[in-house]
Every structure is written in C-alpha cells, then in structure tokens.
Symmetry: C2
Subunit: 367 residues, 2 copies
C-alpha cells in the first residue's frame, strides 16, 4: 500500500496515529483546512502551516472548472501551483456537483451538469474525476461518489449507494501518480442498514482509507452521532477513518471519541469571514456593539497570532469597514482553535484520558 497507518494509542474507541505517504506524513486525529480553489481563503501557505495544519483539502470539481487541471499540471501539480509544501487531499467533486444543484442528468455512466460559474455544460464520470485528481497531483484522491440530499427517500439513497459502489469499482481501476493514495466514500444517509451494506461493499475494494460522506448535510448532531456509533467501529481498524465535512468543535470531539481520525470543514474559515469567532465558551459575534471599545483579545487563553496582538475593538472595526485584513485575522484564529482542539484530543488519547478531557471541553460549551 502507498499509505501506512500506525496506531500509536487507543483510548476507548478513539485512536491516535500517524499516516505516512510517499511525500510526507501526518498525525491523527487531524483537522484539514479547506482550500477549495488552491488557496485556504485569505491565507498564505506558510501561515496555514504555522497554525499547525499538516494536510489541506482542495476540490477537483472547482479546479477542473477554474483554472483547469491542465494549468495546474503545467506547474507540476497543486503543491507547486499554490506553494503548499505539505500534503494535499482532493475531494473528487461528487458532493459539489450535487450540492450546487446544477445537475442536469445522472445515470450509471456519470454526471452531466452545468458549471456554477458560467452555466457551461460538463460531464464527469469516475474515470474523468480520477484523471483530474491525477493531474492535480494530490497526495490523497477521493473516489467519485453520488451524494443524495439529506431528505432523499430510501429508494433514492439506495440508488445512490449502488451507483457509488459501481463507480468506486471503476475508480480503483484508474491510473494514478506513484505518490497518490485513494480513499473510498461510504454513503447511505441515516439508514443504518444501507450504511452497513455500503461499508461492506466499499471496504472490499483496495482503497488506502475510508471516508463517511453524506453526513453534516442537514441532519441533527444526535442523528449523525447515531450513525457514527453504529458505523465507525465497523470501519477497518487498520485504515484511516475520515468524516467528511465536519468541523464544528463539539462534533469534532464527539466524532473523535467514536473513532474518527480525519476531518475537514469550511465552517471554521467561513464563520471567521462572517465574523463568528470561536472561544472555549461558544461563539463571539464580533459585530456586536459590546465589542466597540473592548481592548480585550477574542480569547485571553488562545495561543493564536490574532489573540496575541489584536483587540476585539480593532477586529470589530475591520469587520464593520469590510477590510480584507479582518478575514485574515479571523481565519487564523478559528483555524488555530479547531486545529489545536484536535491536537489536544490527540494528546488526551496518548495520555489515556480522552473522556475527562472531552467532558470538560463539552461542558464549557454547554454552560
């Protein structure tokens, strides 16, 4: 296998480990910042790295549309194109095609859709999706999946599951760069029987890791935790387990204690740009008038570069005047909080006291 996963410690169902790939390694549990368009919005690569990020996520659908994977390949791949020296995971684009609702026609051959940018017509199938990711040169490529809406009836979820399995079989047949690992995606919505069936089908294929897709798409946290309770323990123990699209601090803690190793989510960075800043006791809305004269940082206990230097009043001023610097300072803070939360969970697993740590984190949020 191109991916080696060593489990360093187990604490309940939670695991602390290390994933080694041809071009680098990373520690788990891990939160991967999202850089959809070959940029973690507002940030330079070295800043993202300094916050502790070891892997970032880019998106094959978006980069296929703009600038085109040929342009990226001309530069020697995504790492060179964007100047990111560490590892990159690319999502295949399945989720985006469905969630941007530009879908025109889907059948077993593939998906015809309109670009959300200019309305132009495109076709992606498993072969093309893997070829795009090969051209991008990511370290981990995701299988091309069919992700139905969260409220889809069982028949449609079943169809999506069957199609995702058929597509996964085609994905693993495709050529890929020497350094590229591949993850399969398990769908099935909130239907545990379908989830279990699909897990069996996907894990029968020679993927290097496995992801849960179709969660955090509108269901309640309790519904998502219910799926994790049932499915995570059945995911192959010796492969990394990746919960796609989850990054709310509470959800990270709950998923890690249920045995998940990898996460990505736009929420910390998107919330940041919208003025919602994470603190241990909940979110601060920086636009609130109470912060107008506050010389306090967002959080006195935070180790991020923003809290080291800037007051809530300055941040509120930048937000109110729509200054670009606000996005930078807020993104640095929220990313640091989420990355550090997951690293703290890792330390707690290694120390064998994840549960008391998790309880103390969650209690502060509930207070």
């Amino acid at each position: 296998m191109r991916l080696r996963f060593e489990i360093e410690a187990v604490c309940g169902r939670a695991r602390a480990g290390r994933v080694s790939l041809p071009r680098g390694s990373y520690e788990t549990p891990i939160f991967m910042p999202v850089g959809t368009l070959a940029t973690v919005k507002s940030m330079l690569p070295e800043e993202v790295e300094a916050l502790g990020a070891q892997v970032i996520l880019a998106n094959a659908y978006h980069l296929y549309l703009r600038p085109g994977e040929d342009v990226v390949a001309d530069h020697g791949g995504l790492h060179q194109f964007m100047g990111w020296p560490r590892l990159i995971l690319t999502d295949s684009g399945g989720f985006q095609i469905f969630s941007l609702r530009q879908l025109m026609k889907i059948d077993d051959s593939g998906v015809r859709f309109r670009s959300h940018v200019d309305g132009s017509e495109h076709f992606l199938d498993p072969e093309r999706a893997m070829a795009v990711q090969a051209a991008l040169g990511s370290d981990i490529a995701m299988a091309f999946d069919h992700c139905p809406p969260s409220d889809a009836p069982r028949a449609r979820v079943l169809e999506a599951v069957q199609r995702t399995t058929a597509w996964a079989r085609r994905c693993v047949e495709q050529p890929r760069p020497e350094h590229q690992a591949r993850f399969g995606i398990v769908q099935g919505g909130l239907d545990l029987a379908l989830r279990r069936q699909h897990l069996a089908e996907i894990t029968a294929l020679p993927f290097d890791g496995f992801a849960l897709g179709g969660l955090s798409v509108g269901e309640t946290p309790q519904e998502m935790y219910g799926v994790l309770d049932e499915i995570a323990p059945s995911m192959p123990e010796q492969r990394p387990r990746y919960l796609m699209g989850v990054g709310r601090p509470e959800d990270l803690v709950e998923a890690i204690r249920r045995g998940i190793d990898m996460f990505d989510c736009v929420m910390p960075t998107r919330n940041a740009r919208n003025g919602h800043l994470f603190t241990p006791s909940g979110r601060v809305n920086i636009s609130n008038a109470e912060h107008r004269r506050s010389t306090r940082p967002i959080d006195e206990t935070c180790g991020c570069p923003t809290c080291a230097r800037y007051s809530r009043a300055y941040l509120r001023h930048l937000f109110a005047t729509k200054e670009i610097l606000f996005s930078r300072l807020a993104t640095a803070h929220n990313l640091y909080v989420v990355i550090e939360l997951v690293r703290a969970a890792r330390r707690a697993i290694l120390a064998g006291d994840l549960e008391p740590w998790a309880e103390s984190v969650l209690r502060r949020k509930r207070d």
Copy 2:
C-alpha cells in the same frame, strides 16, 4: 522643532535626506503606503514593514467616523490599535470631505457634511481636526485645508486658498501630543500666482514641513510638473516637501527630480486589488487570457515575495475566482515596486547620478 531634517545629498534639485521625529526616523525621498482605516488594505503591519515602508498614512476623517478616535485613544493611539511599530502620518480629512462630495455647508468657521457611511451629520473645523489627530497620536498631523475641485474657477480657488490660510493659523494654535509634528498644506490649483501667494502665507507659519495639496486631482501630468517646476524650488529648503496623493511611478520620478521628498497614494494598492500590476515596462492586466497558462512571475527582475513564488497563472486564477489572497499578493508586489523605485531614486541621488537613472526608468516606460 520636533522634526529634524538633514539633507545628506543634493543632485540637481533632488535631495536625499533623513527626517528625525521623537518616535523614529525615515529616509527621503519616501513613498508612504496608505492605510486609510488603520490598515494597509489586506496587509499585516510586519509585511508592510518588510516591503521597506517606514511611514504609513492614515486618515483622520475616516477614523473619526469609524471606529471613532475615542476607541483608538483607548488603545493608546493608532500605533497600538493597528500594531504598526513605525511612524504614522495622518491626513486631516479636508480632502476626503470635499472629494466624497457629502459637503453640506462650508464657511470660515468649518465644514458641515454628511458621513459617506450612514448619512449622519457632522461638523469639522481646524480645532476639531487637530484634536482628532491628537487623539489618534500620529507622528505627523496635517493641517485642515479646503481643497477645491480641479476645475474650480479662479474665484473659488482664491476663496479656498484664503480659507486654508486662516484655518492653518488656527491649526498651529491647537495643543498636540509631545511627539507630534505638523505639516501645512499649500493649495492654489494650477494658478501659479495663487500657489506662490499661498506658499508664502503657509510657510510663514511654524509648521515642521510643507505639503502641496490639490494636485493629481484630474489635471494632466504636464500641468502638475509645471506647478512643481515653479513651486517646489521655492518651498523651504530645510523642511521636508510632501506631494500629496501622487504615486504613479512616472510621477514619482518626475517629482523627485523637481525636489519633492515625500509621497503617498492609494493608486499602487488600489490598482493591485483591481488586477493592475506594475512592471518596469508598464502595467500588466492579470485578467488577460494570455496569462492563463503562464508559469512566469509578474516580473523576473522583481525582488518582491510574490514574484519569488507565484506564477501569473496562479495570480490570474486567484483574481478570476475573487480570492482574497489575490489582493495580498498583488498589493505586496505593487507596494514593493513603488517603495523600491523611490529607494532607487534615493540611491541615485546619493551617488550623484539621478538624471541618467531617471531617464533610463522613464525610457523603459515609454518603450
């Protein structure tokens, strides 16, 4: 005086010097990046400093409206509020009140205007304008002036000149922080007789330096150079000479050779955000299709951090997708180009060969 100006070298009419103030010093000629709202748009202070900036400009009118000078004063002044460790010059706001055309009533007492943000009514006069700048704690405060439109008839220019003189007399009577120097502003449009008369009136007052206002406001470059030819040599030799609002590379060279020491302009940073990037042979419009696949930097000969790492294709991609990182990378480039151009002029003055240097720079732009 609170400001000491040592002339290190003279070359024709051009001067290379050093300005010393209670809280720091800077070399001239100098280009001062604009940070209107207590942020050089998109940039962190340490990045602006690393580009070679020694002084930045902030705006009293804008900061009076948002966040309010009281908030800045609570933080100990602008330097602490925004985290800028070097020197700050504040413009008084006169130019903004007139150029944003929210003027309601102007007479010898002061200016009644509407906020461009929320339409609320405000009143500024010389006393208030200097008090705002005192609260901001800038190192150089500008007198409160009346800047008429570039196409104003002579009678209106005369009235503005007379009012600016009366206001300047009130400005120099106001209290100010121990560390703060004050510059007077010479108006008079393109009327050389009025300019000369106003220069005599303003330089009779105890200012630490003198600025030319009301240029680069719509007249041709040749008209502006004509005013500089006539007026700059008559400005006090032992005080810094500041040409407000000028930053086009050609204009910087032409003004330095006519004896100007200081400059500010939004153009390099605003152009950057609009995708217009400076090169020795003219501007590159990064949105042009020709750059789609270009792995070249903006300028192979440029020493800026953007050109060291990023291709035109990556920059074009960020611009096309409206990514925030574009503004950062483009701003760093354009600011570096302008700051380095002015530093190169300084080196040429010190070496005694400004004229051949200026000719070679201007020739490349004309080619």
